[in-house]
Symmetry: D2
């Protein structure tokens, strides 16, 4: 192994830069050359590739987004596109590729692996929905961004005795909603992984009012329905008070990564390089039970996402 | 003058608590008793009033929202409602009232003044649209919240080479849009006070792309149109790239007030009490040309809001 | 079990309020009465105790510090002091006590347990040095505060081509230094758990300069030596450039807790109540390998603290 | 006028990059070429100069520090050094120079002006101590950094019933202390511009304790004495409680600039270019009474700094 490549793909996530930095520096430290592929699989197909030095990744550990940029590529979903990508890699003498991204990015890594090109997947997405890891890079930062928004909205909700419905990201996963809702003291948390009854939501609101609560906050994961739709359903269920909807949107993807995300990104990025140095490929790295792990990338994809049921239950008990 | 009252009204704004604290402490320091009216004019009508001590306003200077809460009151718009309010004030021996709020709150203060009850208006709103002051309490905090969102969104916009349309608050005023857009390096800023041509917006986008910009950010004041509507118009005008809309919403009202807002709130709140101690009423305090000022509240309302045209022009020159 | 108590003790840590909230609400949810003891063991001895309701802990999950306050108590270190404390608990009908705090607080809980009074320890300290848990409540928030300071100082260091020595907290443990240093991209990290050679530090500085780095940041854990002492040693070792020292100090203990800390505090606080409901006492709760655990509080104390050697090594590899 | 230069000098301040961006873009917009001089007057002497394009200052408006770097230069204080600088400027065809910095930087600009080279001074320093402007670039950001620290320390102070002495920057000026102390609700604020009696400080502490305050915060400007020295004096004056000192240090210079600082920097930077386009030189720009102004740089220096006495008095009235 002499030369490896790295790319970021899919939705950007805070900490991707910290992962890129770790891969580049760890590689160089162990005598490898590291090449950056810009604009994800799209840039791979088009040979948008340059060598990275230790200094190329200086002063980026604290930056949101990804210096390698990201892009969609329909072409790469085809075998021809994948073949073009592999040719570009070979042309540049790149022997293995580290892919940082979410579900779709892993699909690409899987395809390359199936076609015989060594790939390592590093889980980078705010959604926390990648199999084989308890936490993805970016999740902790997004959580704290959402939490900051909840804290701000509570100021207003409390001043006006309002109910707020806050729609948060997460694609089909409820982790952002569950964690931020528990941390933000939300009255109700609606996630795709658990059924809910609107009458329970209403009951909780009424209990809160009875107990003298000055505000109610309901967190709705985008994977269930939109915040506006939820507001309509709530109205249909007979809630007549002053209800507002806030859709947090893209602020959830940005921002300087938290300590947790930078450390996680550094460790996972470095672990990916270690695997390559050990001659392994077709693996997805992760952290499980607080230990660095790696799994077969071909086997891991498609495993259903679950949430922590105890935490879900706890959120109900603590918002009385 | 022995006893004064204070209430907050309308949309809450960061720094209202700092103003309440200043009014209470300044009053007590000069031998007055200060009563807090909860829930705005609605609470006034219903006698939701209690005495505040120096300690009642301890540890609130840093909190968003308003400990006195706010509420709408249709009843107070009627002469009967106003009379009820005055009766409550007299019943509690309150001789003058400080009202912290925006345009609607000032209307109430004007009504009370017209009916012979001494009122002082303190400008508290994030919108920066109150006549008689260059800055309102809450504007600076809201600006920084918006700016933080712009910075976060730029991370994502830059990683994906996207155009982002960000809808910000401000009611009929463009100050939040203009200041945050200038501070955030936005490519275009759309405000109610200035006409815009969609073809100019498009041209700026194209120039940016030609020059190699990796992202474009357009700030749209809610007083012009919604972010989604703007996105549609942009599409109609032929912009075909990856465009996203972010509606910042209620996070703009919350958060711990900035240094500027806390100092402004402290100074204006204290000035209001000074005016009452000097036997004046029917005034609106403000800061103009960096000096504390006060105007006749009856005369000041209805003056049209303007933005700084030089700043608007500058924003165009700097976003090349 | 009908009635339980809760106190916070030792240095305050962000998330203590979230833990108090969880204990109170979880207890009430399961039919218990919960009493708060103010000012730690000192307040316990003097009977500074009051009943807490669900509403007593509303709107505190986001607040730093501890609403129950904390205090030192020399008296409680004596058997007589402990006996007085137990008498107060019995007088109030309190059957078990949850203690939130660090090492010293656990010592108190151990004493009470030895004297036959049921205690559960909840690890609350920024230092991350409590045996039986991978993470303590407050550690993640402190980390992010330190990281924010490092990011700010790097702006200045980079503008002036300076070396900065940053002294961080942690008592005898190096976790804050190690994690913040890795996350902050520090050139050297000095922790009590690992020996260091000043000539290695100097060499790393020189390599950095040679490679064109515009700044160098050295994190020194207070458990090793003070930042000023380290600066002197560095000077003795021949480093002559523009070196500055920053002692972060007490800002590290404050601030609104992060999502991670609020969730951890909520889970551990609730788990403490569950143990009491199960009739268990003399336990210390924690999180290990991402699972909630509990250990015998008598056995756990005194176990030596270790740091993650792989992370320490990684920090050297990534700061080339 | 065809070609202008820009440099940053002295201690770095948040917003310097926004000013550099404004100068470059405003210049280019009006047909000028703009050259950046790296590392202040030191780089000027050594010809460390390169051309800046619109894209060179992209994505820097939000960054702390200064991309042009700063450095001390003893040589530039001599007429020979100044002559070397002017030769470098002429060699590069630069006809006028914009200097962003504090007092020392202005001295350099004055010297160049006296030697016949057109300079414009832009006030960039966190200390807010430059004559001819009500606010300097960086002051507002530093204020908010200090305020954030005060808020954090209050959490701890309140939890432990402690007195905290916080030493803040400002060189010989008390503005950071006064504004942050007023905004932070400090019990006492010690500034160089006003005498203080230690017995008044003690009395205020005692009154606070009597009234039930759980904490006391004293802000000491570094221009008066160090925090540690103040603690000793306080002890000598008989204060025996639990007193802690926090020296905020260099975090005050860093961080992403606030909205206020970015807007101010943009406006002042642009104004400097306008003056040059109008053929003026030897001016210092500023904002006074909320209007952009400019003064003769030769006359303005040496004017004594004053603080707002009303604000100082107010801080005493509000901290009862």
């Amino acid at each position: 192994m002499k030369r490896i490549g790295v790319l970021t793909s899919g939705g950007d996530a805070p900490g991707m830069n910290a992962a890129v930095r770790a891969i580049v520096r760890k590689g160089i430290y162990h005598g490898l050359e590291v090449y950056g592929i810009n604009q994800g699989y799209n840039g791979l197909i088009h040979g948008n590739i340059q060598k990275l030095e230790a200094g190329s990744v200086g002063d980026i550990i604290q930056r949101g987004g990804t210096i390698l940029q990201s892009a969609r590529s329909e072409e790469f979903k085809t075998p021809e596109g994948q073949q073009k990508g592999i040719e570009q890699l070979k042309k540049h003498g790149i022997e293995a590729l580290v892919v940082i991204g979410g579900d779709g990015s892993y699909q690409g890594a899987k395809k390359l692996t199936e076609q015989g090109f060594n790939c390592i997947g590093v889980p980078g997405t705010i959604d926390n929905d990648i199999p084989g890891t308890d936490f993805t890079i970016g999740f902790d930062t997004a959580l704290n961004t959402v939490l900051d928004a909840i804290d701000k909205i509570r100021d207003t909700a409390s001043s006006h005795e309002r109910t707020f419905i806050i729609e948060v990201m997460g694609r089909n996963a409820g982790d952002i909603a569950l964690w931020s809702g528990l941390a933000g003291g939300a009255e109700s948390i609606i996630v795709p992984e658990e059924n809910f009854e609107m009458k329970d939501v209403v009951e909780r609101l009424q209990q809160g009012t009875k107990r003298g609560k000055r505000h109610s906050i309901i967190i709705v994961a985008e994977g269930v329905m939109s915040g506006n739709q939820f507001a309509e359903e709530l109205k249909k269920a007979g809630v007549t008070g002053d209800t507002r909807v806030s859709v947090l949107g893209h602020i959830q993807r940005g921002g300087s990564p938290t300590a947790f995300d930078r450390v996680l990104a550094s460790r996972l990025g470095a672990r990916a390089v270690e695997l390559l140095l050990e001659g392994k490929g077709g693996r997805a790295v992760g952290i499980q039970n607080n230990q660095l792990v790696d799994h077969d990338i071909l086997e891991i994809l498609g495993q259903p996402h679950t949430i922590d049921k105890n935490m879900y239950r706890l959120s109900k008990e603590l918002s009385i």
